[in-house]
Point group: C2
Chain length 527, copies 2
């Protein structure tokens, strides 16, 4: 059994602190030494993706200290305990099994009297079968017409991950003739969200997926009613248009109000649930079951790479360690995710949840306050757009933000244009490469206003093309990075008690059970 | 003439530093005192919007210190110099006239031999006339058919602001029968961006607006070629489908390749250009000239309020001062923008540019390095979505992030549903109110994992409904806040030298004029 210790009690962490500012990024990235770093500081993630950390503030000496930290923190052992079915989510006393939904990394995991891998595969198969019948016209609307659109009703992890993955592959699917149905998403309790989505689709040919583990999420149930009203107003029976993704014990399970239900369990948290039926139902309906299976295979490949004890062969663990070095030794508070791929436009929003909700904690696994900073602020937008926006601050502001670039050699659709001797795709790639060097090396100038200090760290994940496999590997890389960082900070990355108080107070506002400032603010809104 | 001094040379700033942590937010927001603060700490922005700062870490004593700072920094005088036509953009030696595009706050501004207000109004009138002719079917495609879609081709300020404003009013316009044409945006040099947008529209009935001040922005010209190829492939003449928004001296001006051109000048920076033809052409085409005029009127009203010398009657100045207090005295590095309005889904991305590109600087107006931190990291997503995502860190993480909430009493579309005794809109409002109190007051618990420390500051902007006027006022509020913060930090908020180095290096990559790490990275992408 691994020992769970606070980061600041580990002697390897104390040794790491001695390495602060030991690497002059500008110096090491300049000249031929820089080229050597690019070649050397590179590690495969799986599915053709590579994590390159040449432009991070590390050298062999820092990496050796990080390897010591990984060993003392028993990262590999903790990951093994997790995928072998230990109660890693100590707050809620639950197993953590999102990796198991896409592959078996260790022993059989038996919980609630069943083999959990079998359970996840069974639900996938059921969702696949359902999707295939919809595509084949065997499951239709009441008029016997094919469904053409699928709409996910969910919020948080039931929305951000599946939405990011759908957008990531929508154009790829069109280009590869595998877009079976257009997908839409309703998430916000703002009534204008549901109203606008419903106005943009052919409701009579839409199938709606209600996603709520407990079957009690207020936003989601409210939006379900909104949709049911719309169906009823068109003379349609909601039960003919709705399926549920929920737990087996929820009121939505085995309920005649739904065409069918696909099950999730307590061992996969919302923000890690894209690999479960939460992502599986909609992505199988949108792209076909084969495409969803390819995403899972890609994720499983990265999960397997993450088992490596050697941090130089384990990109998720290495990324996690460098992140902790940046956060707890170098003192950086934020991290930006910058995909040079329009298809990944909502991937930063998904990672924002995955990371900030997992590691935005102030107490350790045992409920004791920690004496160090934990999860950073995550934000990001696609490049090159961001270059014409907030990059000014990243280059010349007073705050250093470590950057995570992502780029692909090939576009998804393949249509392109040659201007000034290069395609748009080459320009896109040239820009991400140029930015890395601009941030690392800077540029001197007599005019301080045109001077770039450099020394601003980044890493990049490079792939051939954003495909189902590489997308799955990308998703798993970040999930595993977040998991390893949680191990290092000794926090429980798998609960989210911080969302409870707001819910409680909102209920009080709606019940008019308020006083003081809460009542005064409610009055301003005439609630 | 106002004197331009560094923040740390002002005696009022030294006095403000003495006030650090003088307000216990949790204590002052609890009980009836909290209700009093909500009533008292409130100031009109214009167009029915109110800025409420009850949940900020201020009291009358801190506010008095902020008033002293405003006076010593001569904020009102500097704003007056700006709108009266001084060369405020010292780096590029330019006037700063975005407010003049929506109203006259001071004297006539004569530059380049013309009255600039007349120039902006003339361009608006020309764009209005053009839009009206398109709507009336007097300007059509070559087949004599009406244009139904308008597509903006631009990046950075030519994209984020206009896109955020379009999305903010799209549903309002539908509900008020004033959506004349659907708008789309092509920005990224990623060829999949243009390809996907073109695949989603009826190209034969689309009008494209090429937006580039210099007429040389590589991304934009590349995407223009992409679009021209698509038009040509359909047997259409690009010149029948394209207009330009550019400077009078650019190669795009008076060019037979465009149906018409509307002009901007060097005195309105990209991120402030939504009020110019950059926003005007597309928004007038999408919503009609009257709606765009209403946006400008709303902005002008807020601009006028921002002239008030009394900080308690000047929300933009007050917001700026509190922000500097939070950044330079309390030490917070980030700020989150959280609109409880799905229509404002891209407004945080626009503010991210407006703020971070303006004030992400390390040198003062005279090119001297400053010894204090400047612009914060800005990020955000709409509520209630964010509540199910990154709010965990905001509530219980180790980093305190000041929050800017935005909320409206009424939805835009008006369709709603009652669940558990309340509409979705009431639930939305109840949530934002509940969050403010949860962040400020926290909650004790024997279990540390369920404990909320509170003391996390926020402000809120409240309106009746998101309309053209209130949207204009909202936009101007933040633009003016950013301007005042630039004055306080003594930076030039109106240039962006930090974007240059990346452009330069990207050109070298495309020309294969590289060595060292830049060449090694380029080789990884096979450029």
């Amino acid at each position: 059994m691994a020992e769970w210790k606070n980061l600041d009690t580990l002697s390897a962490f104390q040794a790491l602190k001695e390495k602060k500012d030991s690497v002059d990024l500008k110096a090491v990235m300049t000249g031929e030494n820089g080229a050597k770093r690019v070649a050397k500081y590179s590690v495969p993630i799986g599915c053709g993706l590579t994590y390159n950390y040449a432009a991070k503030q590390v050298d062999d000496d820092v990496l050796a200290a990080l390897a010591d930290l990984a060993k003392e923190a028993e990262l590999t052992e903790k990951y093994a305990e997790l995928y072998n079915g230990a109660v890693i989510n100590t707050g809620e006393k639950r197993l953590v099994l999102h990796q198991l939904a896409r592959g078996q990394q260790g022993k059989d995991v038996i919980a609630d009297g069943v083999n959990k891998r079998d359970f996840y595969v069974e639900q996938q198969n059921r969702a696949n079968e359902f999707a295939s019948k919809v595509h084949a016209g065997e499951i239709t609307n009441a008029a016997g017409e094919k469904f053409t659109t699928v709409v996910q009703i969910g919020i948080g992890g039931s929305d951000l991950g599946p939405r990011a993955l759908y957008l990531a592959l929508e154009n790829w699917a069109k280009a590869n003739n595998t877009l079976k149905m257009e997908a839409k998403f309703i998430s916000n309790v703002d009534p204008d969200d549901a109203a606008a989505v419903l106005a943009s689709i052919d409701v009579a040919h839409a199938i709606f997926i209600l996603v709520s583990k407990s079957g009690t999420t207020l936003e989601t149930l409210t939006n379900e009613s909104f949709v049911k009203d719309a169906l009823t107003n068109l003379g349609l029976n909601p039960a003919d248009h709705m399926i549920a993704v929920t737990s087996e014990t929820s009121p939505l399970a085995k309920n005649s109000g739904y065409l069918d239900a696909f099950y999730m369990d307590d061992y996969i948290g919302g923000r890690f649930s894209s690999s479960s039926a939460v992502g599986g139902a909609i992505l199988s309906l949108a792209f076909g079951p084969d495409v969803f299976a390819r995403i899972l295979n890609g994720a499983a490949e990265a999960d397997s790479v993450a088992k490596n004890e050697d941090i130089l062969k384990n990109p998720a663990m290495l990324d996690a360690l460098i992140g902790v070095y940046e956060r707890n030794v170098l003192g950086y508070e934020c991290s930006a995710v910058l995909p040079y791929s329009q298809a990944l436009s909502r991937f930063p929003a998904h990672l924002q949840q995955a990371d900030m909700e997992s590691n935005g904690k102030s107490v350790n696994r045992f409920g004791e306050p920690v004496n160090y900073v934990t999860g950073p602020i995550i934000f990001g937008e696609p490049g090159t757009n961001g270059q014409h926006s907030f990059y000014q601050l990243l280059h010349q502001g007073t705050t250093i933000v470590p950057l995570q670039f992502i780029g692909f050699k090939d576009s998804q659709i393949g249509t392109d244009v040659v201007i000034e001797g290069s395609t748009s795709q080459k320009k896109l790639c040239a820009n991400v490469v140029a930015q890395m060097i601009a941030f690392a090396c800077g540029k001197d100038d007599e005019n301080n206003n045109k001077k770039f200090d450099g020394g601003r760290p980044s890493s990049i994940i490079i792939g051939q093309q954003l495909t189902p496999e590489s997308l799955g590997a990308l998703l798993a890389h970040f999930e595993n990075k977040i998991m390893f960082q949680g191990f290092l900070w000794n926090v429980n990355s798998f609960d989210q008690e911080g969302v409870q108080l707001g819910k409680l107070l909102a209920k009080r506002v709606l019940a008019h059970d308020t006083d003081g400032a809460l009542k005064a603010l409610s009055d301003l809104f005439e609630i």
